[in-house]
């Protein structure tokens, strides 16, 4: 297929995931600031941490300066100046889809287009009438419908794998960033570790990932940092864990290599990363430092994306 | 005369570019006045693409270079035997109707000053040939040869207002005036051999051609106050300098580029 078509599908997959991650981030933020002891630091620190983790702190400060919850909501959900806002992501995913309209099924296009049309309606709604929780739910509902349409109707061809590759790489990146929020919010104050507040924050994170119940089923008992970290990084059953996302990306890359009958550096890199993960333990993650580990991982994902770019999307490969 | 040409054009890119594509009008025209003994045209490290003779009779060769490159060199070497045809382009096969050369281009818009100059010069002219000579003389008188005052984008009107310019400006002015007088006119590019006593012009040269019914295309070089003779080698033509450019190229992944040109035209002992 045209490299540009592949590129649009890849980014459509990424934006769809990113829209969801931004909405979930917003949810984590609003829940964390509702916790009682946050009051001591002021909610601003928490929101700042959140913006930091999502990589949008600078853009926000340049535009608004003051951290006011209302502004953060606007910035993360509606603001077109923020490339990671839910609205930006949905609009760009839809634009990517429109460009390669004929590479999609009508159900997939319908799901994309409906999300976009509804977004325009939401934008016309008075802000005071929009509950934050409604916005988050709205977003996850639409990304789920889109994923469902892709899974149910899209031919398992190269296009399918570029879509999948984009969403898996983005999801890996996003889970890592969400997990990192915890670092920004908490870790600097070591005395919190193991406290009630600590537990509460982990729980919030899990809920934002719609994974609270799954976590309890899988681990039971107390929520501890070690369990959550295992769950979100190493658990092979958790659909959003780094390991699962990485596996997905590797599968897509292998399918492409087979379809095109050509092994690629991206595929090799993904395989190596998986190899590393299969032997990794929670202790090793903590030894390296959670934040350091996550930062390195986000870098690895960017490196993988850039290999994909060179091989398939740039159109320069021979 | 037997003239040998050595012409090397080098582009330097500030940052490496992803590749380049070039369309080269760098092969001598086939006319009764010039016979090519040998000619070599090459883009270093490049792949030769399609080549063809266009409707105006010019040989076009296209080349592409795969990047990354930070330098691109176009090399021309050759020998041409020339004969003085008193400026007349004889034996040159072309398909384009002369009347296609009546349209204005940005560089050759005739402003009031050019129109007036053309009208004054035309006063009392007897026939197309005489008119063309008068227009060429008028340009020579009104625009002094002086390098460095004009640039690639200078128009005919601007050059006349300045009263100075280089061969490109002279040619543009003559073209604008000829067209205003209803004579098809075009830009010709090529090489000029300048011996010790000759005019102090660069060896890469340009002049104008004017269509005169009954005679055909005739070259006029207002910069040297003459018609092209056996010191000239003609490469090709166009509506203006841009259209007739010997090298047209695009570098992919634009970076700032600088250009270095070395041209030498020598006469062999006969």
């Amino acid at each position: 297929m045209l490299s540009r078509t592949a590129e649009n599908l890849f980014w459509m997959g990424r934006y769809m995931e990113r829209a969801e991650m931004t909405a979930r981030l917003l949810d984590v933020g609003s829940r964390i600031t509702l916790l009682p002891s946050s009051a001591g630091q002021g909610f601003r620190d928490d929101w700042d941490s959140l913006l930091q983790a999502s990589g949008t702190a600078e853009g926000f400060r340049a535009k608004y300066g003051e951290t006011v919850q209302r502004n953060i909501e606007s910035y993360l959900f509606f603001d077109r100046d923020n490339p990671s806002s839910v609205a930006s992501c949905i609009e760009r995913a839809r634009e990517n889809g429109r460009i390669v309209r004929t590479a999609l099924t009508s159900q997939v296009w319908d799901a994309l287009n409906t999300a976009f049309q509804e977004l325009r309606q939401l934008e016309k709604t008075e802000r005071g009438k929009l509950e934050l929780s409604r916005l988050t739910e709205w977003t996850t509902r639409h990304t789920s419908m889109l994923r469902g349409a892709i899974a149910a109707t899209k031919l398992r061809d190269d296009g399918y794998h570029f879509l999948g590759l984009g969403s898996h790489i983005e999801r890996a990146d996003n889970t890592a960033r969400l997990l990192d929020v915890k670092y920004y919010v908490l870790l600097p104050k070591a005395d919190y570790v193991g406290s009630g507040l600590d537990t509460h924050q982990w729980m919030t994170l899990l809920r934002a990932l719609s994974a609270q119940r799954a976590f309890h089923w899988a681990y039971g008992g107390e929520i501890t940092a070690a369990k959550v970290v295992h769950f979100l990084i190493l658990n092979r059953r958790m659909p959003r864990s780094l390991y699962t996302s990485l596996t997905g990306a590797h599968e897509n890359l292998s399918a492409l290599a087979e379809e095109y009958d050509r092994r690629t550096p991206a595929q090799t890199r993904a395989a190596t990363l998986m190899q590393d993960f299969s032997q990794l333990t929670v202790e090793e993650v903590f030894d390296e430092g959670l934040h350091e580990f996550l930062t390195r991982f986000v870098g690895e994902m960017a490196g993988l994306a850039s290999l994909v770019q060179d091989q398939y999307l740039s159109g320069e490969a021979r | 005369m037997i003239l040998t040409v050595s012409h090397v054009t080098t582009y330097h890119y500030a940052a490496p570019v992803r590749g380049a594509v070039q369309s080269l009008r760098l092969t001598p025209s086939r006319t009764d006045g010039q016979r090519t003994a040998s000619w070599m045209l090459q883009v270093e490290g490049g792949t030769k693409g399609g080549s063809f003779r266009d409707g105006a009779g010019d040989w076009i060769e296209s080349w592409s270079v795969r990047g990354p490159i930070s330098e691109l060199r176009v090399r021309v070497e050759g020998t041409v035997e020339t004969t003085d045809m008193a400026g007349i382009l004889r034996g040159h096969r072309e398909h384009v109707s002369p009347s296609a050369y009546l349209r204005e281009t940005e560089a050759t818009v005739a402003d009031t000053a050019l129109l007036t100059l053309a009208r004054d010069a035309a006063d009392g002219a007897s026939g197309g040939l005489d008119l063309a000579h008068r227009l060429s003389t008028a340009v020579s008188e009104r625009i002094a040869y002086r390098p460095g005052v004009t640039e690639a984008h200078t128009t005919a009107a601007e050059a006349l207002a300045l009263g100075e310019g280089v061969c490109q400006d002279h040619a543009h002015a003559l073209i604008a005036m000829a067209r205003a007088q209803g004579l098809p006119a075009r830009y010709a590019s090529g090489y000029l051999f300048a011996d010790a006593s000759g005019a102090p012009h660069e060896a890469a040269h340009a002049w104008a051609e004017v269509w005169v019914d009954g005679l055909g295309w005739i070259g006029f070089d207002p910069a040297n106050r003459c018609c092209p003779d056996d010191r000239y080698i003609r490469l090709g033509s166009g509506l203006d300098a841009r259209d007739a450019a010997p090298i047209r190229g695009v570098a992919v992944g634009a970076a700032t580029e600088s250009l270095n040109v070395e041209v030498a035209v020598r006469a062999q002992q006969q």
């Binding site: 297929m1 045209l2 490299s3 540009r4 078509t5 592949a6 634009e95 429109r98 460009i99 309209r101 004929t102 009508s106 296009w109 319908d110 287009n113 190269d158 570029f162 492409l256 095109y260 050509r262 398939y312 999307l313 740039s314 159109g315 320069e316 490969a317 021979r318 | 590749g19 594509v21 070039q22 369309s23 792949t47 030769k48 693409g49 399609g50 080549s51 063809f52 003779r53 266009d54 409707g55 105006a56 076009i60 296209s62 592409s64 795969r66 072309e94 398909h95 384009v96 109707s97 009347s99 296609a100 009546l102 349209r103 509506l239 841009r242 047209r248 190229g249 695009v250 992919v252 634009a254």
Partner: protein, 471 residues
């Protein structure tokens, strides 16, 4: 001034045969049902994404062209005559293009003024002396036709470059068949769905000589911001070919290649939906970063076919239009089957005088204009508009032509109050390759505003399904 217009449904109060069944169809349709169907049609159009953006007007880029459910009907014998006339014209236009980029016999014979050809902005010196494969310049000829009486058809203009709108022709039919299947059982209507296959075959038939395999055809679009992007992607999809932008293509070793996930793939035929000026910065616009650098060199050295051929525009200019009947006689030795609308060239002083004296009766158009912009419809214009046009004409007479205001036929159209006559035109799409083919149908555009004669979608026009009845 009372003008009587030919209503295609009636003949002196009697319903004409081709519309007979439609009369019952409308009579039996309750208003609620009609409204429901109209909404259904709109929803279908919106769902498939067929929308239209008007150049330079801003507004909603996802606007729909209004669709009128009342079909327009031609009989088989009416169509046969149209078909012959259209094919004849398409042949003559292509013969003209081959000639003016070659030996220029028609000019030498004095049958068309030299300046109209060689002085024409659309004349591309760069392709002179080059004959495209099979001698075809214009592969898709859209001919705009109006009707003034049962047997009176006139050609309003020719479109030799990249006539748009064919997706509407196909979608209108699709939607009508979905909504009113019984209509298609009751009436025997010639199918048009072979269009995309014929188009693909036409394009493949003009692949360069150098191409020794099944040709790779692509559609070149200016991009997804273009108002006709939907049509480009629709056609690519139907033909099963890639829809490319200039950045997807590059030139190497005398051929054009597209960038794919598996490396470069050679392209043989480019159906371009962009203007000549944006094809190749090396040839046309050195200042433009658009286009495929080196494309024209590949084209001129026979490595790729571009459809329509660069330079084809010189045949569909409104000033050249006047001479098309002359082309038919000169190249084909035949009498034109379809007539031209009488046209005054404002560049000719005697014509200009007539035009200035009769402005309130005439339609005045820009020679290079399109889409219904920059035109004056005398009988509908205010005094001020007419005076403003008088000045325009005085300053650039050669830029305008004038025609009498034609009594455009009407067809029944659904309006607020029920069914009423509205003016229509017709654009069939003639495909020229190794063969000349025409699917039985075209795009009927309708001026939805009562009394309006302007059918352009940019000016409030709508579209209809167009039927040709089988024998």
């Amino acid at each position: 001034m009372a003008v009587s217009y030919f209503n295609e449904m009636f003949d002196g109060g009697r319903v004409r045969a081709p519309y007979a069944r439609l009369e019952d169809w409308v009579a039996a349709m309750p208003p609620e049902f009609r409204t429901m169907k109209q909404e259904e049609a709109e929803a279908l159009f919106r769902r498939i994404g067929i929308t239209f953006a008007v150049y330079g007007e801003g507004g909603d880029p996802d606007r729909l062209i209004p669709f009128d459910m009342f079909p327009r009907v031609f009989t088989q014998s009416e169509w046969r005559r149209l078909e012959k006339g259209i094919k004849q014209r398409a042949r003559a236009l292509n013969a003209f293009l081959v000639d003016v980029y070659g030996r220029g016999e028609i000019v030498k014979a004095g049958r068309i003024p030299q300046h109209l050809v060689y002085g024409n902005e659309a004349y591309e010196k760069a392709v002179a002396g080059f004959t495209p494969p099979k001698g075809v310049y214009s592969h898709i000829v859209g001919i705009d036709i109006v009707r003034t009486g049962p047997d009176d058809f006139y050609v309003l203009e020719d479109n030799c470059r990249t006539p748009s709108g064919v997706s509407y022709m196909l979608e209108n039919r699709e939607i009508m068949m979905r909504m009113f299947p019984t209509l298609f059982r009751e009436n025997r209507i010639e199918p048009i769905d072979s269009y995309s296959e014929v188009l693909r075959r036409t394009l493949a038939s003009v692949a360069p000589k150098k191409c020794d395999h099944e040709p790779t055809v692509v559609i070149l679009t200016p991009g997804h911001f273009n108002s006709a992007y939907y049509e480009h992607s629709f056609l690519a999809d139907l033909m099963g070919v890639e829809l490319v932008e200039a950045i997807d293509l590059f030139v190497e070793a005398g051929f054009v290649w597209m960038r794919t996930t598996e490396g470069p793939r050679k392209v043989d035929v480019i159906y371009r939906r962009i203007d000549d000026a944006f094809l190749d910065p090396l040839c046309f616009r050195p200042d433009s970063m658009l286009g495929v650098p080196g494309l024209m060199d590949v084209y001129r050295s026979g490595g790729v076919t571009i459809a329509s051929a660069p330079g084809a525009g010189v045949a569909d200019d409104k000033a050249v239009y006047t001479f098309v009947p002359e082309m038919v006689r000169f190249y084909l030795g035949e009498e034109p089957i379809l007539q031209n609308v009488p046209t005054w060239q404002c560049g000719r002083s005697e014509d200009l005088k007539y035009v200035l004296d009769h402005l309130p009766e005439l339609v005045v158009k820009e020679v290079h204009g399109s889409g219904g912009y920059g035109m004056l419809v005398g009988p509908k214009a205010s005094k001020e508009q007419i005076e403003a046009f008088r000045d325009k004409l005085a300053s650039d007479p050669a830029g305008y032509i004038a025609q009498p205001t034609l009594a455009l036929s009407t067809t029944p159209t659904f309006v607020e109050e029920g069914v009423a006559p509205r003016h229509v035109d017709l654009r069939p799409y003639c495909l020229v390759g190794e063969q000349i083919e025409l699917v039985p149908g075209g795009l009927t555009r309708v001026a939805l505003t009562e009394g309006s004669l302007v059918v352009n979608s940019s000016q409030g026009g709508g579209v209809k399904d167009t039927w040709v009845l089988a024998e």
